[in-house]
Subunit: 285 residues, 5 copies
């Protein structure tokens, strides 16, 4: 009986995103923003099929991040995946011809209605961008609605401006940690960040934002599985988790890859994770 | 890809209430309205503990029907039970001193927020009661909201008036089937009814309401497990399912009992169900 | 090109309810309120099946009157029937234990969304009843919404009170015509009335309400088809149409019956209508 | 850092009502409904002065229960008392001439605005009363608003009807525990009950409602301090606390009395409590 | 009886846009945006007359795409055409002096009210344009309203920016398929695209967006009927349909032309389509 917390819905949804293990609570997300936010060609053609992506999340038992349109067409075949619906997004076409701000393509009310296994909503915040003011107000409205419906909010917090884009600023650890703190001070429950340069950067983020639940992007395709796992090992021994896209779903053995990550998040070594990866391929569909 | 139906949320929730088997789609619900709507003493004291009730639903994998207050205190220990939250209710104290109409103790918005595994909302409609007009209007509002959030609506449809209560009218098959049809014409997705006297009554309900998904109450405590299962056998070979309370949770082997019912709903014989029941007791907590 | 009337939606819907013929514009509706508003047993069991009712309207090409719940479950098999959704209703159980006023089970917005072939909405008004005040206000709200969406409004206007019911008052021609005028003065586009006693009564209604489009109930089951058609002949030579239920759908040859009525409404004689009726039975499903 | 619960406001307010000790979490409230809900003359005239009552709560450091009007006139002299504002109430004049339901004299929004030290709102629910339906709907609205503002809700749950009042039913343990469960199933955080006859009754309540936080009324003026403390001792060793009025504020040494109760709630013996009581009187103003 | 889908309105409207045949479900739309979005002179003067355009759609029995103003003036003569109302649009005057974004000239509520035979609403989305953010937010609002009213949404998805316009980018297959996917992820039910260069491009779109219902523009006036039909043949054997304007309504035998297309969409050969075309001209008005 929880006397001091009748907001059980929030707690349940939150726990569905957490991996319990020797390292405490960590999170591993499968992110699929190819198609809308990135149009990078899927090097594995099957990955263009939402059934394939949903099959990976389902079998690996990790939360999946999608936009609503993809979800509603395929979800009845995958009804139990813990889902994060992203509420805003933008394409990468003619990138600099507009300020960094995604269109708000889904509301919190809509998300909770269309998605019976919703565990969180997501929002991309461009810290320092020309629309920062409008975005912070928009985010606040989302956080309020989300609190009402007891849905956790994940903020993709990136330092960014357009025209000209200052790409060299975006990954600097001092900017990454600033973005983390800004999202946190605005009510985010989980913050998704760029990789802050290196292990030192991970420590700096932690130091500056001791109580923030930080999830790091999977980044560019790693050269080898071992490198990918080593990076993940460092991340989850300092910060709180990862949101990985291509490094899982474009891998020839995506479910094995994901299970290896999960092992690391539960406190296993890189070697143990590689053993899992090197087992026979787990089929998806 | 579902081109003609983007309302996937509704379909997913609906399917979580259905048992697929040789008889087609049937439903078995565990109903616990002892405590609020009935105060009948729990003959098994443990049954007063919501953890016990939730444990049964969880292990037997059947949807559970509760009011919100009970749900929010215990749900974090049972996060995956398919839940039906009842939106109105009334006590049985001084029964005839007011017209039959439950208080509206939970809204659709509230239900979907507090309950991450919500599959339906429930509403008690007293057909022919002094508040029938107000109730039909209230139900219509609930159905609209529920459609918006893609939540199925289960209507407890009972012929009833108070002061004086005409108990002899309530279970007559012509009244049971009238109540079924009224709920259906008002938009209910599933209708829960009194037992319409006998097998002939079950047929009459079906005839008058061919396309209605009818679930029958578990009724008074059956004398033996065999009688209970035989009754269930008749019901699901004519109509569509049952909502059972005491006949499951006050049984000394509640999970075994539930699994026996499920077997019948999947098309098995009463004997096969009894075999399941007679196996070693499955523990609850 | 209609310069003076941009409300084409209203005109189109209205015309879908009208039969053009030698008598001018007349209307014939198939009404099915057995099941909700009347629980009279269907003397032809098939009539309990909405598919059967919808099949009649579809093949006879006449508008059908239903409540929303029935419509949504069967409409995809009958997508083109001109539909009238009734917005309020009440059962006939324990009739006098509440004031005459149906529950508002559907809104105008809901009706236009769920029903792609909607041509009108319907409302039962109990003139002189204990809830007359509330009903007139409720009707006004419906008329306003319906005007906004360009949906015609049909009012079932009956003199009525409960407890005690004064049944002898309800069919008197002076009360029938009063009810017609009240509905008309409150914005109804079409008024559905009780049969005002006799031919003299039909004339009295016309006199008192020259510009009102009055549709008369089909009433009790007529003894013979000839009597039914003769009554209809009188009605449509004085007033504007009929809404017929049992006299069509409980007839052994329902589509033939409907086509006979239509012939009369187009200006044919009773004999010509009987010829149509006496042809080979047109099958429904 | 509370990752799984951002509703910290609720938790903080809840904890301000809890006494931590060897018995776990217990609650002691000072209730003053003399003046509005009871007009019993104050046997100690000073007790009619809100400053006196507030002084007791302030010095004894226990939450105080008042109606809003009293609060706003005196609160600036006692800004730190943990306050419970009662949202409804009724007088005891001409008691049976109306159904049992208090007027809703304060809203949740108003309470949080006028009272900077608000820790909860209170609502009297008359279970089984003629207005049960309306009250449950009203309570649900309050619970929703209170959850939004993160304010705990205390429900005074009494079995009651008027005209005729059935006083002999109200204190029966089976009715007391039924009232507790009903309040709980409707979302109450804390339930305030009549004393359920005797120690056996306390156990029965606990059994039937294992996870409910139950606070018992102080009841009629006890003959001696020892009897009062003994009763309290039994209560808090079985259930969760008390709301006491006259037995504190009409006592000649009200603060000493309260501190004695607190000692018992922290796990001390009746003797230890009496020692505290018997010390020199602590002055109030 | 559709137990799992009470959103029958959506299904009915969707099916009115689909041609069932050997190729599965395909769509052929008659699009008329000459007059508003294109001012290209009508080479056949009669085509400037909305009656002429509506007559083609009516007799060929294919859905028609118009803006509201044209619809309301002529619709009463053509009440049964399945209609798609375009909700936004812009002229081609001084094209580059403003960012690509149509004015929102009609709302979903307005469309459903004014158009009794409405089957879908349309929206032009300029992917990558300077107003992409605003457009995605605007589209989301339309999708939500359309879902509420059970109206399918067709998105015209074009890669586009102005000042300078990069015309060479707009028809590249990688941009066409990106536009398709973006519309899909934002909730579109049907997506209308530019022709993606060639047959290879059609395959690329399909691959990247396997579950998207893609309709291709009719494009520039084809040199011969045979070429037009051959192109259509390729399109509907890979993707899902076409929206054709000038290639139908500026043809000397527009209804014959449309029926030939329909034959191809049903799985017939180009030769069979040409036979239909070469029959005697079907008159329009």
């Amino acid at each position: 009986m929880s006397l001091k917390n009748p907001y059980t819905g929030f707690k349940i949804r939150m726990e569905k995103m957490l991996i319990q293990g020797e390292l405490g609570e960590k999170s591993l997300f499968l992110a699929c923003d190819q198609g809308f936010e990135h149009r990078s060609d899927f090097t594995i053609t099957e990955a263009a099929n939402p059934d394939y992506i949903m099959g990976i999340a389902e079998k690996a038992e990790i939360p999946l991040i999608l936009h609503k349109g993809t979800y509603i067409r395929y979800a009845d075949r995958h009804p139990d995946i813990p889902m994060v619906l992203k509420l805003n997004g933008k394409t990468e076409l003619f990138y600099d011809n507009r300020a960094p701000q995604g269109g708000l393509d889904c509301s919190v009310e809509e998300a909770i209605g269309i998605c019976p296994s919703l565990v969180a909503v997501g929002y991309s915040l461009y810290v320092g961008g020309q629309k920062e003011t409008e975005q912070l107000t928009e985010l606040a409205e989302i956080v309020r609605k989300a609190r009402y419906f007891q849905i956790p909010v994940i903020v993709w917090a990136y330092v960014r401006q357009h025209n000209p884009r200052k790409k060299e600023e975006e990954g600097k650890w001092e900017n990454v940690r600033y973005a983390a703190r800004v999202a946190f001070e605005n009510g985010a429950d989980i913050v998704k960040l760029y990789y802050p340069e290196n292990t030192e950067g991970l420590h700096k983020v932690k130091e500056y934002a001791p109580g923030i639940f930080c999830v790091i992007a999977g980044g560019a395709k790693a050269d080898t599985v071992e490198i990918a796992y080593s990076t993940a090992y460092d991340i989850v021994h300092i910060l709180d988790g990862m949101a990985i896209g291509r490094n899982i779903f474009q891998d020839p053995k995506p479910i094995n890859k994901a299970l290896g990550y999960k092992a690391i998040f539960e406190g296993k070594s890189v070697e143990e994770a590689l053993d899992i990866y090197n087992k026979e391929k787990i089929e998806i569909l």
